[in-house]
Structure formats: structure tokens, C-alpha cells
Amino acid sequence: MTETFKSKQLRSGLWNTVNERYPGSMITKDSYVPLANITKPISESRLTFVSTAGVQPKGTMPFDTVHPVGDYTYRKVPSHLKQEDLEIHQLKYPTFGANEDINVIFPIKRLQELADEGVIGGLTDHFFSFIGYNMDPTLLEETLAENIADAVVKDHADIALLSPA
């Protein structure tokens, strides 16, 4: 049985600790963003996928995984690609599952199947990928996130599935 709920912070003091140690590294939101209602059924909606897993098409410029403040670029991942056309450049999460089957973190094959079956109306031409290690929240929010949001709109996405790694 799936449950939906709002709960309280489990470790409320944790984020203060992070902010003391890495000043300004946490984005703080004091309010909830208003819900955007979906405008059409899922079966008629074009879906895009946005991921922080560092997944990229083979042969594209690898993400800079060792820069001290992160890499604020993103890669377009054509949504028709096969799993074997992709590789991961990310050091900050366990990739042993993804190295066996990339769908555990970047479910490109599952999304293609759902689109082929008509469960989803379709996929955008591209999915979008970046790395999650970014220590400058202003650059992350005002540059990288905005750039990806613009690219998602340009690709005519109706709905977006977002996954960190």
C-alpha cells in the first residue's frame, strides 16, 4: 500500500551543520513552490528526464569530476539512444548497479518502452544530464538549472521526471 504524507525533518540540525562547514553551500527554501497542474493526460504528454547521474553519450566531453567547486555544464542525451551508447562520469555515488544496468539510475530503456506502449504520450528528443557535485548554489540555481529549464521548454516537454543520483 503506497502512502502519501508530509512529515517533519528527521535531522533538523543537520543542515545548519552543513552550512557552518560549507558556508552558502545549501539552497534554503522557506516555502513550497505552487503545484503546476498537468494540462493533459499522461498518455498524451511528452516526457523529459533530467538526471544528476553524470550519464552522457559516449564520445561527449566528460564531466569534470575533480573540480573543487563542481561542473556547471549539462549534456543532452538523445532519448532514442541505446543503453550501450551511454557512459557515466561521476564519482560521488555508488555506480556498481548502473555499470551493470544503467536503467537503475537513468531508465532510458524503460521510458522508451512506456512511450512505445502509449502509457506516456512520447519522449522529448533529448534527456538532460549533469553531475550533482556542485558547491556553488547560486551558480547551480541561476545558471545550470535555468539553462536546463530553458532547454526542456525548447524540447516541448509537458512533464518532467527528475532524479538525483
Binding site: T2, Y32, I38, T95, F96, A165
Partner: protein, 80 residues
């Protein structure tokens, strides 16, 4: 999608789905197609069902159980 409930509660995304899995495994375990698909479908369902911003849907999976299922699938496929 989230595997870190406290981070998600802090960040306050409008809609999120929490899976109690290891980092890097938001859609389950290798070769477990049915599980990967179910997680995506749950997320799509939440997209339609969520009434208020900040609602977190928690999926009723157990990491130990899905890992066992994944290992059984790998064995069946003749993979190590």
C-alpha cells in the same frame, strides 16, 4: 525521485517519490525491469494524484528484498 527523505523534506520539491534504496539505485536493481517500470509508473501516478505542494509519496519496497529479487533474476540470466 529521492532516496534521501530528509534532504527532500528540506529542499521542498512540489512533488516527490521516496524509495528506501541505496544512492545510485533510484529505479531499483540491475535487470529488474518490472521494478524499474513500477517505480516510474508510481511517479507518474503521483504527478496526477498529488493535491498539495510538498507531497512525498513513499513506495512500499524494501532494499534487501529487491536486491534478492535482482540477484535471482541475474542468476536466471546466467550473469554473475
Amino acid at each position: 525521485m529521492s532516496v534521501a527523505l530528509d534532504v527532500t523534506e528540506y529542499i521542498k520539491p512540489p512533488r516527490s517519490v521516496f524509495v528506501p534504496f541505496m544512492m545510485g539505485h533510484h529505479f531499483g536493481v540491475p535487470f529488474h525491469k518490472e521494478l524499474q517500470r513500477s517505480i516510474i509508473l508510481e511517479a507518474l501516478e503521483h504527478l496526477e494524484d498529488a493535491k498539495n505542494s510538498g507531497e512525498i509519496r513513499t513506495l512500499p519496497y524494501k532494499w534487501a528484498k529487491v536486491r534478492k529479487e535482482g540477484n535471482a533474476i541475474k542468476k536466471k540470466l546466467g550473469l554473475k
